[in-house]
Symmetry: C2
Subunit: 337 residues, 2 copies
């Protein structure tokens, strides 16, 4: 059996109350007894039982993180940001990922009850109904890139729409007119917003242009297939805008196999600016999201909401992404990194 506070109390010949006080640094305990207790505690290698403690204090020092998936650089960047912010505050992270469907996500949320002080929800397929049904209203939560922005929940969202618009504007500015788009999965908020940005800005900037959308799912494989589709076309677009970097990279490989040079023969751009985007050849022009920063900010927001439950009840923050011009788009890359 593990050593409990009672063992320490017995050994130090005091009550458990005094042990608790001494260990938690309360002032109302003699220096002498405190020293004795601390000595016994370290000697016995006592560590308080987390569950017992948080049962009574109603604090767990833990944040629950709900992710749709852990695959790919995007999500690992997110949790890297979340983790570093959490560590700075002495919080732990209970991660739960890969909730394909709503039922799994719902179960995961329920399982978090009594184990976390707050919830960081990142579910691009979660909608208002799902959240209303599943988010306990006594648990502080922050939503990350979720369809529901505003009113009742605290949220942090990338302005995917404007990011996509900026990219299309850039491509048009470089001189491209026929611009194809590789879309993300259906029913994914981010995916939909980027597509909408593409459609709207193309329509407004290139009157009469026909939007060409290739189906994708955010994974490299689907980008590769889209690239193959493009190769098979007789009249290819001048530029391809993939809804995320991983698909752009997959597409790049397909084009390369088809002996097409990027950007000489065809321009190619992505979205997210995952670390890998700098390393492929040619380096990818993309939309920078500062993924890990976003994770960190989300955690900060949540931590604040936990500390002061009333303040900042439900504010929606939007993050404006930024165009990063490298060479894959055919534009002369600006100086700098």
């Amino acid at each position: 059996m593990a050593v409990t506070i009672k063992d320490v109390a017995r050994e130090a010949r005091v009550s458990v109350a005094s042990v608790s006080r001494a260990l938690n640094g309360h002032h109302n305990v003699t220096d002498e007894t405190r020293q004795r207790i601390l000595g016994v505690a370290t000697q016995l290698r006592y560590a308080p039982h987390g569950a017992a403690r948080s049962l009574i204090t109603r604090r767990t020092q833990t944040i629950g993180v709900l992710l749709p998936d852990l695959y790919g650089e995007y999500f690992s960047e997110i949790i890297r940001g979340v983790d570093s912010a959490a560590r700075a505050r002495g919080l732990h992270l209970l991660v739960s990922s890969s909730h394909g469907d709503a039922a799994e996500a719902s179960a995961a949320i329920r399982a978090m009850r009594g184990r976390v002080d707050g919830l960081l929800v990142m579910s691009p397929h979660a909608d208002a109904d799902f959240l209303a049904d599943n988010l306990p209203d006594d648990l502080p939560s922050v939503l990350l890139n979720t369809r529901v922005s505003g009113k009742q929940y605290s949220s942090l969202t990338v302005d995917n729409y404007r990011g996509a618009c900026a990219m299309v504007r850039h491509l048009v500015g470089v001189g491209h007119r026929r611009i194809a788009f590789i879309s993300g999965p259906e029913n994914n908020f981010e995916s939909e917003e980027r597509l909408r940005g593409y459609r709207d800005s193309l329509a407004s900037l290139v009157p009469g242009a026909r939007a060409q959308v290739l189906r994708g799912d955010f994974n490299e494989e689907s980008g590769y297939r889209a690239g193959q589709e493009l190769l098979a076309q007789k009249k290819r677009p001048e530029a391809v805008f993939a809804a995320n970097d991983m698909m752009a990279i997959g597409c790049l490989f397909a084009l390369h196999e088809g002996a097409l040079q990027v950007p000489r023969d065809i321009a190619l751009t992505g979205f997210d600016d995952i670390p890998m985007a700098r390393f492929v050849t040619p380096p990818l022009t993309t939309v920078r999201v500062r993924i890990s920063d976003m994770g960190a900010r989300a955690l900060e927001r949540l931590a604040l909401a936990i500390e002061t439950p009333d303040r900042g009840k439900s504010s929606a923050q939007s993050i404006k992404p930024e165009l990063v011009v490298r060479t894959s788009c055919g534009a002369p890359a600006p100086a700098g990194p």
Copy 2:
């Protein structure tokens, strides 16, 4: 206040004992009352309090994961593997990362008491003393790539030594004689083993060869600096073997900036086979570790140890990595991926 089991009991006009039995699927409760209880529970949106439950059951359904850092693809691949295995078993993950020094790591382990059923420790700088002082002996643990293999702890280790040997053998086989090495950080078990493999096999395969070791720290930046050092040398090596892929990629960029072609002018190889290794140009010849598999296997081992505390008490498993020949080493790449 959140709804507790008492609320459910009152509403369903039964005792808390019956509610507990009904919800946990025990057989000794009438179908009728069970239905009534279940109805009330869902209607009240009752979710059991995790801390309270695990206080009495002594189970948390959670695994603690101790990582040195969350940065880079290597560790995110690890936790991806761990996570998928955990999910398959219905386990949650309490991650704690970035323990620069032993004191932090020690505190993290203590904080896990009563919150986890087992510990997955990945600390290349952890040694026997540290573990003996800090690992509670009543908590099942699995060590991942840690210096202490064998006797008292259950561990999973990549055979870094043989992996490095295989790489040197390959480079020599391709015809290279002057082979430099970019090392990882000091006091890192994996780093040391890879260096040892390089030294030993170079000495045995190329008698009289001089080992050239450039200091690195596993990060891209240090690989870049090593590349710059190489550029500055008058008599450059024919091949460079970086102790991990990230440094190889950094080095690749430096060489590229110096107008050196890889592999025509100089061969370059890495270690780990992170996903990015396939995507750089030229694709990196490296040593495949199957990082996420390793994480998954480690979790399986731990889960087993938790279920059957006596069996498999402390076995050391070693994973043999595998050479992946792409084009950066100057060898004709074999067919296939």
